[in-house]
């Protein structure tokens, strides 16, 4: 399994997001492997949640498709094992805290370690509450990927100081979903510079990014870019036959 560190040692790192179990387990595994084969450097698997308050309609609908196909946390861990048989790409989860809390932090991070998940992005876990999971995550070599927002201001230092894995820089206010450039927060490079004052942990930018041009722009500013809704939309468009369009999309991004 490739580590996050190796993945981010490349010139520029592309993080691809998809919802685990969308549109069903077999297809979701197939699409995850397709993302990796086409060149995604890190794959972020969203764990569906009943109330994804940080997500826009595209990702919300993907979660509903996954629920309809019967996804749950145990099945997602089994999915990870099957993905691991086919690719070494680093995997991280995106999950709301309650899914981990209810599974049990110790059990959750143990499974992450055993199955090969390197990190977790938790959108409703700010710095103030990170103590909730820090110890158990560290004990199982799982990075808690911190989020920095356009509004973080003076908070940046404490958020990034002890970070591992990578830092998720949120590029726009509001919820996930594709956006035009002019809706991106203005001073992203300033924020990156601020992060750099306190840590060497790589920075990937996400929220709203969906075109190769935007990725090029983010790569100029930071260490990599994250695309979510742009990929999920391809699955929405043709849930059973999205492999080709996913591969083509990623190759375009990486070109």
């Amino acid at each position: 399994m490739t580590s996050l560190k190796e993945a981010f040692s490349k010139e520029k790192t592309f993080v691809a997001f998809t919802v685990a179990g969308d549109p069903n387990i077999d297809k979701s595994i197939e699409y995850t492997v397709a993302l990796a084969n086409a060149g995604a450097d890190v794959i972020e698997l969203g764990i569906p949640f009943s109330d994804p308050i940080a997500d826009g309609p595209v990702i919300q609908k993907a979660g509903l498709r996954a629920f309809d196909a019967g996804i749950d946390t145990d099945k997602i861990f089994d999915m990870v094992s099957r993905i691991r048989e086919q690719t070494d790409v680093p995997l991280v989860f995106l999950s709301y805290l309650n899914k981990l809390y209810d599974y049990g932090y110790e059990e959750f991070f143990t499974e992450c370690e055993n199955r090969g998940v390197s990190g977790v992005v938790i959108p409703d876990l700010p710095f103030e509450e990170r103590g909730e999971v820090d110890e158990q995550a560290t004990a199982h070599n799982v990075s808690i990927i911190p989020l920095v927002a356009p509004t973080s201001g003076d908070r940046v230092q404490k958020i990034v100081e002890d970070s591992t894995g990578f830092i998720y820089l949120v590029s726009s206010l509001g919820i996930t979903g594709v956006r035009d450039n002019n809706q991106m927060a203005g001073d992203l490079s300033e924020t990156v510079a601020k992060i750099r004052e306190y840590t060497d942990t790589p920075v990937a930018v996400g929220f709203g990014i969906h075109t190769p041009e935007q990725v090029t722009e983010m790569n100029r500013i930071a260490d990599g870019a994250i695309i979510g809704s742009g990929i999920v939309k391809l699955i929405e468009a043709d849930p059973d036959n999205a492999t080709d369009s996913i591969e083509e999309y990623v190759r375009n991004i990486k070109a």
């Binding site: 949640f49 749950d72 209810d102 599974y103 700010p126 509450e129 973080s152 509001g174």
Partner: protein, 403 residues
């Protein structure tokens, strides 16, 4: 235990293990600003006197504590006193908190208020205060709730607010909170999210409780003056928990006063269709707080149900979770049927049309009073008036009002 509660909640917004600030990073700077502003203004003499003036001269406080003699005689046990929050301007306790938070938001330089609402009472209170203070107002309301509380939707619009019906999920209060939180992450600079109950991330549960605690402060003064002693029990309905926290707060240290919250048991605790969080839920993290939530077996928040839009919520404020944990307060389930019977009963017995939410508390008083002695006292918080529910109650009984 009491000292621990007061100390922890002032520092980090913890009530035992419950509470906290589980909210996206995008909102954290604003939450920090809000916490600072609240901690400053809550002790600021000018802020306090402005708020007091609004509560007295605009909202009509103090609200009456009324001795319901007919009801007491009919039930044949304890003396029942009704705390008449239904008589406040806009018709419920929600105005206490709306005035407090809106005034604070104004001091912070905000020009726009957003709010979630279930029954529409909090939306109406927020729209009212926005009009009064010259602020913009947008209210998020579940689609189902806009239908079952249609009168309040029109009231909000008359007051100049924009109402957004939310059709995701069950189209109820939980979904309205989701939408309001999302809107706040989108536009936070000029906007205050005026949360309507003792829920959400710190400082909301503490702040809303403080603004509502005027209820128990008044009850205490009024009952001591009228009856010469403290009540034996205080009963209030719980949705997110704000009217109950307001009614309980100043009695927490009076260990002999039983504190009882009535939650919505919908079609029954043994069915899937209820919203009895404290009886059926388990610890979790949602809507910014660690508390008790109704969940499925994989940690997803459950769809809940109650006839009452204001109690139809899968969570509960963290201070209630704590009060239950340390056994300082008790929580009981009241079904739709029991609440509707109480609605009829208090109308016919006392001439008061009370909100269906409040009638959950009344229904429990109807069970409790006969078991108590004539010289004992129950204070029941009548959190709101029931005009908004008349059409829905008629429908429930199969009567067509052509509304």
């Amino acid at each position: 235990m009491q000292e621990m509660k007061l100390e922890t909640n002032n520092k980090t917004g913890r009530f035992g293990d419950f509470g906290g600030q589980y909210i996206p990073e995008t909102l954290m700077s604003e939450i920090e600003r809000l916490t600072k502003a609240y901690n400053h203004y809550k002790d600021d003499p000018e802020f306090k006197s402005e708020l007091h003036d609004l509560l007295v001269n605009y909202a009509g406080r103090p609200s009456l504590l009324y001795h319901a003699k007919r009801m007491s005689d009919d039930l044949g046990g304890a003396q029942i006193y009704l705390k008449r929050e239904d008589l406040n301007h806009t018709g419920s306790h929600k105005i206490n908190n709306a005035l407090g938070q809106a005034l604070l938001a104004k001091k912070m330089g905000k020009t726009r208020l957003i709010a979630e609402t279930g029954a529409g009472q909090h939306g109406v209170a927020t729209a009212t205060v926005a009009a009064l203070l010259g602020m913009e107002c947008e209210v998020f309301m579940g689609k189902l709730d806009t239908e079952r509380q249609a009168l309040n939707v029109y009231r909000m619009e008359m007051l100049g607010a924009k109402v957004h019906p939310i059709s995701s999920g069950t189209g109820t209060l939980k979904d309205a909170v989701n939408a309001a939180l999302q809107e706040w992450t989108r536009r936070v600079d000029d906007t205050h999210y005026l949360i309507g109950s003792t829920m959400g991330p710190h400082p909301f549960p503490t702040m809303v409780r403080d603004f509502q605690s005027v209820i128990s402060k008044e009850i205490k003064e009024q009952i001591v003056k009228e009856a010469g002693k403290l009540p034996d029990a205080v009963v209030a309905c719980v949705g997110g928990g704000s009217n109950a926290m307001g009614a309980f707060y100043n009695f927490i240290d009076d260990k002999d006063v039983r504190l009882i919250g009535a939650e919505a048991a919908g079609k029954g605790l043994n069915t899937e269709q209820n919203a009895a969080t404290l009886e059926k839920g388990r610890p979790g993290v949602f809507h910014g707080m660690k508390s008790i939530f109704c969940q499925d077996d994989d940690g997803d928040i459950k769809e809940v149900y109650s006839i009452s839009a204001g109690l139809d919520y899968p969570g509960i404020g963290p201070e209630h979770a704590f009060l239950q944990d340390i056994k300082r307060a008790e929580y009981v389930g009241i079904t739709d049927d029991e609440a509707v019977k109480a609605f009829d009963y208090i109308a016919k017995e006392e001439g008061i049309v009370a909100a269906i939410e409040s009638c959950h508390a009344v229904a429990y008083v109807m069970k409790l009073a006969p078991k108590m002695k004539k010289d004992q006292i129950i204070v029941c918080n009548l959190s709101g008036r029931g005009d908004k529910d008349v059409a829905a109650i008629a429908r429930y009984k199969g009567v067509d009002l052509h509304d």
